[in-house]
């Protein structure tokens, strides 16, 4: 059989052919281009529009950026160097660098905000990254007082005595603990508040009279630039998260009064623009406080910005709480945990994890909203760009300053959103 067959067929291939290369249109760059850029009529139109807009942008901004002058004392000098060509005058950023960063802070004290900023990074490390040494938490705890002292200056005793309030509260708590836990908590909190209200001032005055250790006090109207944005932004971020958590829990509470107050506060703050709250801080706070009180404008702004952000934060966290399956609450109850233990150990860790994107979005929003302080006369970067333009040297400079300020905000905010994505990946526990 097989013999006859082999005889009748003239040619049989007994080895495999080598693989042929795929057609040119199906490999490498050409295939990629076909699939991604030119797969249909609409796609071709979009590609052409996209490429032409990129070319348009590059043609308009490219020469302006490439011809940039980095060393000039004034716009006139810059134009002279450019000699009619289009080009940016980034000399303004070099010339006014310190002003853009520190505002009108005394130059001899520039080391203080710089040091405070570096220390802030150190204090943030254990909070942001699990790999940092745990002992740094102690530094994070004292950092607020340290930063306050470095930025505003004055006697060192005031922040120390204020921080001592926590120690006093803890001491009172430990002393009364044998009586009852609840009473001890109340006594501890009361002791701290009374310490701050009545003893901090006199004791720190007395100590600074006896032992005057301190640095030059600097009033907050000389604060400005990115320093003021960072101070307001970072403080607001740090304070709005805990207040937001409390408000969210209040909104979920079974107690009618607590719930009503929380809902009323959240909806009121979310219903009005931040600007009106800032104006309240600058114009109206004097009406609501006892006659003769006058406290720092930056502190007032921080309070308002924090309240504003915490209302939004509360809604974000409420979303996280609502997204949590009912079974988690029931399981916590079944284990016999009380309300606070259940929140601390079961509910909050999961709810906060779910709401990380929203929380970070609120942080980014808060940081961007710090620019609104320009309307109540605080010289943030945007306010300074107006002030720089008011100077005859740099009258008429727009794009370079706006570009620089925008870039700085972009780096901060983009960094925050990238960090939130890293955190989400790190905390991901489901296996899908």
């Amino acid at each position: 059989m097989s013999d006859t067959h082999s005889n009748t067929v003239a040619y049989v291939r007994d080895s495999m052919l080598p693989e042929a290369t795929p057609p040119l249109t199906e490999v490498g760059a050409i295939r990629w281009l076909r699939e991604n850029l030119f797969s249909g009529v609409l796609n071709i139109i979009l590609t052409v529009l996209g490429i032409s807009s990129v070319i348009w942008i590059v043609l308009h901004i490219g020469p302006w950026f490439l011809n940039a002058v980095w060393n000039a004392e004034s716009l006139a000098e810059c134009r002279q160097i450019l000699d009619g060509a289009t080009g940016a005058c980034f000399g303004v950023i070099k010339d006014r660098w310190h002003q853009l960063i520190f505002g009108f802070y005394p130059p001899s004290a520039y080391w203080r905000p710089t040091l405070a900023f570096v220390l802030m990074l150190v204090a943030l490390a254990p909070i942001l990254f699990a790999g940092a040494p745990r002992k740094l938490f102690w530094f994070s705890a004292i950092y607020p007082a340290l930063a306050f002292w470095l930025l505003w200056g004055g006697t060192i005793w005031f922040p120390i005595i204020a921080m001592a309030g926590f120690a006093v509260g803890y001491l009172a708590y430990r002393v009364t603990l044998p009586l009852s836990t609840l009473a001890a908590t109340i006594v501890g909190v009361l002791a701290t508040i009374l310490w701050w209200l009545y003893l901090t001032g006199p004791i720190s005055n007395m100590l600074s009279g006896a032992l005057p250790i301190g640095i030059m006090p600097i009033r907050s109207d000389s604060f400005g630039g990115f320093m003021v944005s960072t101070v307001i932004g970072v403080t607001g971020i740090a304070l709005s998260l805990p207040i937001g958590i409390v408000l969210a829990l209040g909104r979920q509470s079974d107690m009618f009064l607590i719930k009503t107050v929380s809902v009323g506060f959240i909806e009121f703050i979310r219903g009005v623009p931040l600007i009106t709250l800032l104006f309240t801080a600058s114009l109206l706070l004097n009406y609501f406080l006892p006659p003769g009180t006058n406290f720092d404008i930056i502190l007032r702004v921080i309070i308002m910005v924090t309240l504003f952000a915490s209302a939004y934060m509360a809604e974000v966290i409420r979303g996280g709480l609502a997204a949590l399956p009912r079974g988690q609450y029931e399981a916590a109850d079944a284990l016999g945990l009380d309300y606070w233990k259940a929140q601390r150990l079961i509910i909050m860790p999961q709810a906060l994890k779910i709401s990380i994107p929203g929380i970070v979005n609120t942080f980014i929003g808060l940081f961007k909203d710090t620019t609104l302080v320009v309307f109540i006369g605080i010289l943030d970067p945007i306010g300074l760009s107006n002030a720089i333009r008011a100077d005859s040297d740099w009258n008429g400079i727009y794009w370079e300053l706006f570009g620089f300020i925008g870039l700085c905000f972009f780096i901060f905010c983009f960094g925050m959103s990238r960090y939130s994505q890293y955190l989400e990946r790190k905390l991901k526990t489901d296996h899908r």
């Binding site: 009064l257 104006f279 114009l283 980014i364 309307f375 945007i382 706006f402």
Partner: protein, 417 residues
């Protein structure tokens, strides 16, 4: 004694107010209520004290006093002889106008950018990603100022349009002029006017009301027609042809009304040192409009993208398996499900637009905050009343928008059983 007391007195001890969960919430609420009342009383007391020290009282009479300042953009009649209350109304209308147009354009921009960011086209999706990140990570205030600076610094002066060798020319067949003073666009005019109805504080032109009624009526009739077609389809399985009826219903009545009223456009033209006729859109308005639309559009784009991604791939595949066309799949399967995810964040974006119109102060846009919260407060010295009124108005607008949008949201929500 103690023994009898304990047995008869229903075993209530004061410590149960704190330790018994039946009473604890009551105790906490009463304590909170007293603290709140004390805090409130403290604030009111301080305010009364401070007002007395300043020799001021608390009343809203200033709203009927002559304002004495001009407002450069007004939708209703206003002169500097009008009252502060009327100035507030003009500002409120400007705020609402800006919020409305910005919401519309931001939605359009956001939907386009969100869909394009998901496109398979590499360059377009990257460009849209760049747009979204650039606008989301830079403060709105900076964008407003930048766009305002572009409008005032980079656009030609009206004189550049004049003469034989004009350096600038009008766009769109000589109908739109973009100058450093603002944008001039064709304005609608009617040869016959039917007069105006006076509604007490504002007078509304009857022409406008008529057109509005005709448009709403046409839309309603069209909806009725489509419903009828669906009913016929469900009864017989055949859908009657509706497209020409729809076109007729939507466009014939409005065309007839417009012709009857003698509708025509007045085109801006250069006369003397400036453009005349047409409608003048100020730089402040343009800057706010563009900045709010582009900024919020970037956020809406992210919402739209998230909404489309939230519809699982299986839905598309199931629709294709049923033999549906791609366009039907999008309209009948993907969009209705994506909308449920998109609408709640969209509501809060609309609210954000409304609140962000208050940034108009940066470029001198005369909105509610600039009239009532700015010049009126400065002139009358009524900070307390002015700011309270301002906050209440914004609060009312916000609650109104969120209420309306929640009704809509409930109507498209998945009906769970």
């Amino acid at each position: 004694m103690a023994m009898t007391n304990e047995s008869s007195g229903a075993s209530f001890r004061p410590s149960m107010l704190l330790y018994d969960t039946r009473y604890r919430s009551m105790t906490i609420q009463i304590v909170v209520m007293f603290m709140l009342m004390a805090g409130f009383a403290w604030l009111v007391d301080n305010t009364v004290e401070n007002l007395r020290a300043l020799g001021k009282d608390f009343n809203f009479n200033f709203l009927s006093v002559r304002a004495g300042y001009d407002i450069n953009q007004r939708l209703v009649e206003y002169t500097n002889d009008s009252s502060h209350g009327r100035a507030m109304l003009v500002g409120l209308l400007n705020t609402l106008l800006l919020a409305l147009v910005s919401c519309v354009t931001a939605t359009v921009i956001g939907v386009i950018a969100g869909v394009l960011r998901l496109s398979k086209n590499w360059i377009v999706s990257r460009l849209m990603g760049l747009y979204v990140e650039a606008f989301r990570n830079v403060p709105l205030l900076l964008w407003i100022i930048v766009i305002f600076a572009v409008m005032t610094e980079s656009m030609p002066a009206p004189s550049a349009f004049r003469g034989e060798n004009a350096t600038s020319s009008m766009l769109f067949f000589d109908t739109v002029a973009i100058t450093n003073r603002g944008v001039y666009v064709p304005g609608p005019l009617f040869t016959t006017s039917l007069g105006a109805i006076n509604l007490g504080i504002i007078s509304v032109s009857i022409n406008f009301l008529l057109i509005l009624a005709v448009v709403v009526g046409s839309l309603w009739a069209n909806i009725r027609l489509l419903r009828h077609a669906t009913a016929v389809q469900e009864a017989t399985g055949l859908r009657p042809v509706t497209w020409w009826k729809s076109l007729l219903i939507l466009f014939a009545p409005i065309t007839v009304v417009l012709i009857a009223l003698g509708f025509h456009l007045s085109y801006p033209s250069l006369q003397g040192f400036n453009f005349q006729d047409g409608t003048f859109l100020r730089n402040s308005f343009i800057a706010m409009w563009l900045a709010l639309s582009l900024y919020t559009g970037a956020f809406i784009a992210e919402n739209v993208r998230a909404g489309i991604l939230a519809v699982s791939r299986g839905q598309t595949e199931a629709a294709f398996a049923l033999g549906m066309r791609p366009s039907w799949t999008m309209n009948l399967v993907i969009l209705p499900q994506a909308l449920r995810v998109i609408i709640p964040p969209l509501i809060s974006q609309y609210l954000n637009i409304t609140k962000n119109t208050s940034l108009g102060i940066a470029v001198g846009y005369m909105d509610l905050r600039s009239t009532l919260g700015g010049i009126t407060i400065n002139q009358t010295g009524r900070e307390l009343e002015g700011m309270l009124l301002l906050m209440l108005v914004y609060l009312a607008i916000s609650l109104l928008i969120s209420g309306l949008m929640n009704i809509y949201n409930n109507s498209v929500r998945l009906k769970e059983r």
